[in-house]
């Protein structure tokens, strides 16, 4: 294709920022931002439309000179894994702008600029094929995110913003050292694809894996590096929480998929037991913590830790089902958790409280809101027929093959998530109206509805018909698995548990 579509997607928000700087009228600023995000969404749909899912090769590649002396290039491209997240990013940004329409009432221009900057950086992360370019986007995200939490956040926003920044910065810098070690070990190149082809010595792999692991584990976040997350989520404005949960948390897992597994296969195998245990702890511990929360946002935040545990579990059992499940689950979690944060934000805008105890009987006041809220709550707890079910099922099925005990224990997490989500829904939406202030709340308006609908579509679509999504990523995942498992002792032939077989019981015919 003649149009450099990836650099268009990455560059357009920056041009938009230039235009925003010249505008004073806040209505115009909002409209321009939503138009830019709309176009971004359109472009990423086009991207998927033109994507050839039969190959694992990088597509829509672009490559420009950057610093030839150090072999740094501006290299872009997407494969079946990253294209999903490019789309997710566009969707999440679009929803963020809609969600902030009235919620953000001061410094609107600055807010839209930071959201668009975030969008550029996030898309850049998923498209970069050069390590330094990747790191540049990865790290540059910290600045707008720090500002989003710190300027537009809640009471404790400054503390949360600092904690988020310092935590992530520390991890990222260690990750940078790892990148540079690989640069020299892999023959003086930052080319991600070339570095994935090299066989590194076991010693180097171990070191680099540890450096990478800290960086990614903080982003995911995995237990015990998760403590920044509840603070950041609770204090961030709705849009900030949505971006954090929807895209940022996926980046750690994406890092594992894109770098740790293909580049450091032996070390990944070597550490897989430990990581599985950490994932399991995250699943169960996160679930228990969520059970104890009264703050709606905190509850969703801890549930994220638990759900991301499922993702890392799926990544490190090294088989096709689990891996595809993990990637699908990343996408699903981006949708459902964004939706839950959006719903918390919607109700918070009206009542200015996030305490579960302050609610009750919302069903009678805001029926449309509650219906959709129920949909996303059920999706988050992986009810059959919703997107998360497919993801979690694939992960657990894959895990059962290799690690039966870990899978058995991970099921506890699924039970816990049913417990805390249903009890939250019951206390918020069902029962009598206990708080008289709730009586004159308005149900959702068309703008809010616009934000909700795409999320709901994906929840149901993936829930009932996941194969298009699995098909997009399939050959890339197969290739990834092949890169990872060259020295793997035990490999499950795909025919023992064919994907169709698993899904046949799930998908209503």
């Amino acid at each position: 294709m003649g149009l450099p579509i990836l650099s268009t997607i990455i560059g357009m928000p920056i041009l938009g920022i230039g235009a925003l700087l010249l505008i004073r009228d806040t209505r115009l600023i909002k409209w321009l931002s939503i138009i830019i995000c709309g176009f971004e969404l359109l472009f990423s749909i086009m991207l998927i439309h033109f994507f050839d899912s039969s190959t694992h090769e990088m597509q829509f590649r672009e490559s420009y000179e950057w610093v030839p002396m150090l072999n740094m290039r501006i290299a872009l491209g997407v494969d079946g894994i990253s294209i999903l997240f490019v789309f997710l990013t566009a969707l999440v940004s679009f929803i963020c702008v809609l969600a902030s329409w009235n919620a953000i009432n001061h410094r609107i221009k600055e807010f839209m600029i930071t959201i668009l900057t975030m969008h550029t950086a996030m898309t850049g992360v998923f498209c970069s094929l050069d390590f330094i370019l990747f790191f540049l986007f990865w790290e540059a995200m910290l600045i707008p995110m720090y500002l989003i939490i710190g300027i537009w956040g809640g009471e404790q926003r400054v503390y949360a913003a600092f904690k988020f920044f310092i935590y992530t910065l520390t991890g990222s810098l260690l990750f940078l050292v790892g990148i540079i070690v690989l640069y020299f070990a892999g023959g003086n190149t930052f080319d991600i694809l070339a570095l994935s082809e090299v066989n590194y010595s076991f010693n180097i792999q171990i070191w680099v894996f540890l450096l990478f692991f800290i960086g990614f584990a903080i982003k995911v976040p995995m237990f015990p590096f998760h403590t920044w997350l509840p603070d950041a989520h609770v204090q961030a404005p709705t849009a900030g929480s949505i971006i954090l949960a929807g895209v940022l948390l996926k980046m750690g897992a994406y890092g594992f998929l894109r770098f740790s597994l293909p580049m450091l296969p032996d070390a990944s195998q070597y550490f897989s037991q430990e990581i599985l245990v950490l994932s399991l702890i995250a699943i169960i511990y996160g679930g228990y913590l969520a059970l104890a929360q009264d703050d709606l946002k905190k509850l969703v935040a801890y549930s994220s830790i638990s759900h991301m545990g499922v993702v890392t579990l799926g990544i490190f059992v090294f088989n096709l089902q689990a891996l595809e499940g993990a990637i699908l689950q990343m996408f699903n979690h981006g949708i459902t958790t964004s939706a839950l944060f959006l719903f918390v934000g919607l109700i918070y805008e009206r009542t200015h409280t996030r305490s579960i105890a302050a609610y009750g009987g919302l069903m009678k006041i805001m029926p449309i809101y509650t219906t959709f809220f129920a949909l996303f709550t059920l999706a988050s707890m992986a009810l059959p027929g919703t997107s998360s079910f497919i993801g979690e099922l694939l992960v657990l099925a894959g895990t059962f093959v290799n690690h039966i005990w870990i899978a058995a224990l991970a099921v506890i997490g699924a039970m816990l998530s049913a417990a805390y989500l249903l009890s939250m829904f019951k206390r918020v939406a069902l029962g009598e109206i206990t708080n008289s202030k709730l009586r004159d709340l308005k149900d959702i308006n068309p703008r809010e509805f616009t934000a909700i609908i795409p999320l709901a579509i994906f929840v149901i679509w993936i829930g009932f018909y996941p194969s298009p999504f699995l098909k997009i990523m399939h050959s890339s995942v197969e290739n990834l698995l092949q890169q990872t498992s060259q020295t793997r002792p035990k490999q499950i032939p795909p025919q023992t548990l064919p994907k169709e077989h698993i899904l046949s019981g799930v998908v209503p015919q």
Binding site: V67, E139, I143, I151, I166, L169, L173, L176
Partner: protein, 494 residues
């Protein structure tokens, strides 16, 4: 220096001409500075603005000369003045850095001096002498000529730090600087004399030749001599444990001079360090490498940790500059061409971002040192969004967050470190720079996340706007398009 042997000294006209051509920028600069003194006398000190303008013009002319000589002839290859001076690409790089720093310092000095009632032409002329001292340091290939440049610089700086005659703090800082700097110079001279005693020469090239192949690094006399040299230079670049003077002097000195000192003389100190340790003493690396590595880590640690509790922005930046000196020293520890190049890139980028941040600090200052608390930045973004945004850019650059220049600087140092196999050192360095992020973020927090509690007035002259624009564009530009800068430093390595 080469003491005459039994040879009969012959006047070699060619060599003298050659030497004069190579040092033409320095000669022109000195002559111009002396002329400016006379112009000032004729004008009876009333045409200060003219003198400031002429100083900038002088520097531009000298810069043109430097570049012309560097591009045009082969002076760069051979040392002149009997092996005491060289105009190689390495020195040209540093000289350009000094020119930029000095011009920007002059540009943002005017308003400040007027506020303080000390708008005098000596100030600009002495800055020119300081510049000349730094240029000699960058070009020196003999311990004696290093010393000459160093003293010319130091004497000028004593006067400049105490330039606010009626301000106690300024006087105190000048005195402190004078005494401590004299002690450090003595230490260094002692080291020089030991080297002369041990090797019979002060020429860097000859020292290297004599040490080559010997096992001098086990000789305790060489250990002592190296330690004295290191102590002297560690003082000049304000590295731990010889950093104590920096916060007091930085706080007391006129702010434009603080900005200047944190950038240019520090770079000059690094130029000399790089040349001496890489060219004269590579054989002694067993002695100085661990010492410098320790100093670097200690500077990073102490600079970052102590900066956390500062309330005065100038003191904070003093500690931050200590930490940055530590980071740059790591490049010297890494060694090799990439190590040297990484230090050079770091210093250049640091010059841009630090001058930028000081420009904002100076703009914030009112007379008599008010407006230099960190708290004074509260709510800046509400009242002056553009200035706050620039400040944000400089702060994140100092933290080392892409896409700013500070990231590229750190990246290159870490590359050099890993290339030489110091992975743990690289890990330690990045961890400390994460701590340093904390106090830079605090300023961002005050500017953006607090409501203003007072009306902030900024004094923005055209010169100011110009220097802010230059440093801002450089800080972002080098971060996004670093290619040319990487190539420039790699061809400038000696």
């Amino acid at each position: 220096m080469n003491l005459p042997n039994n040879e009969i000294a012959v006047i070699d006209v060619d060599a003298i001409l050659q030497s004069m051509m190579a040092s033409l920028p320095e000669i022109v600069l000195l002559l111009a500075a002396c002329t400016l003194i006379m112009i000032d006398l004729i004008c009876k000190g009333r045409r200060v603005e003219l003198i400031a303008g002429l100083s900038i013009l002088t520097i531009l002319v000298v810069a043109a000369l430097t570049l012309g000589l560097a591009l045009h002839t082969t002076f760069g290859t051979d040392p002149v003045y009997n092996h005491m001076f060289i105009a190689d690409p390495f020195s040209v790089f540093f000289k350009i850095l000094f020119y930029i720093a000095t011009i920007i310092s002059i540009l943002f000095s005017g308003n400040y001096l007027k506020n303080e009632g000390q708008f005098l032409s000596e100030y600009f002329i002495i800055l020119l002498f300081a510049l000349c001292g730094m240029m000699i340091m960058a070009s020196a290939t003999d311990l004696i000529s290093v010393y000459v440049g160093l003293e010319l610089l130091a004497l000028s700086l004593y006067v400049l730090t105490g330039f606010l005659k009626h301000n106690e703090r300024s006087n105190e800082s000048a005195l402190k600087y004078l005494i401590l700097s004299a002690v450090a110079t003595c230490l260094m001279l002692y080291g020089v004399s030991l080297f002369y005693g041990l090797t019979g020469t002060t020429q860097l090239g000859k020292i290297a030749a004599i040490l080559d192949g010997s096992n001098a690094s086990t000789d305790s006399a060489y250990v002592l001599a190296s330690l004295f040299l290191i102590a002297g230079f560690a003082f000049k670049i304000a590295a731990v444990p010889f950093h104590m003077w920096a916060p007091d002097v930085y706080e007391g000195a006129p702010t434009p001079i603080t900005a200047f000192m944190s950038v240019a003389p520090k770079a000059a100190g690094f130029a000399v360090l790089l040349r001496i340790f890489n060219q004269a003493l590579p054989q002694l690396s067993d002695i100085w490498l661990p010492v410098l590595a320790t100093i670097a880590l200690a500077s990073l640690t102490i600079g970052s940790l102590v900066a956390l509790v500062q309330t005065n922005i100038k003191r904070l930046l003093a500690y931050s500059s200590i930490a940055h000196a530590g980071f740059a020293l790591l490049g010297l520890v890494a060694g090799g061409e990439s190590g040297t190049a990484s230090v050079m890139l770091y210093l250049l980028i640091y010059a841009f971002m630090n001058l930028g941040i000081f420009a904002v600090v100076i703009a914030m200052q009112k007379a008599q040192g008010r407006g230099e608390l960190i708290e004074d930045f509260t709510g800046l973004s509400k009242q002056h969004p553009v200035i706050a945004l620039l400040m944000l850019l400089f702060l994140f650059s100092l933290t080392g967050i892409p896409p700013t220049a500070g990231f590229m600087a750190k990246l290159y140092i870490i590359l050099a470190l890993v290339n030489s196999g110091y992975i743990l050192l690289a890990v330690a360095a990045v961890l400390f720079s994460a701590i340093a992020a904390f106090f830079y973020l605090r300023i961002v927090m005050l500017m953006y996340m607090r409501e203003p509690n007072q009306n902030i007035e900024l004094h923005l002259s055209p010169g100011f706007r110009f220097s802010l624009a230059v440093t801002g564009i450089a800080t972002l530009g080098v971060g996004l398009m670093p290619r040319w800068f990487f190539e420039m430093v790699s061809v400038s390595v000696f």
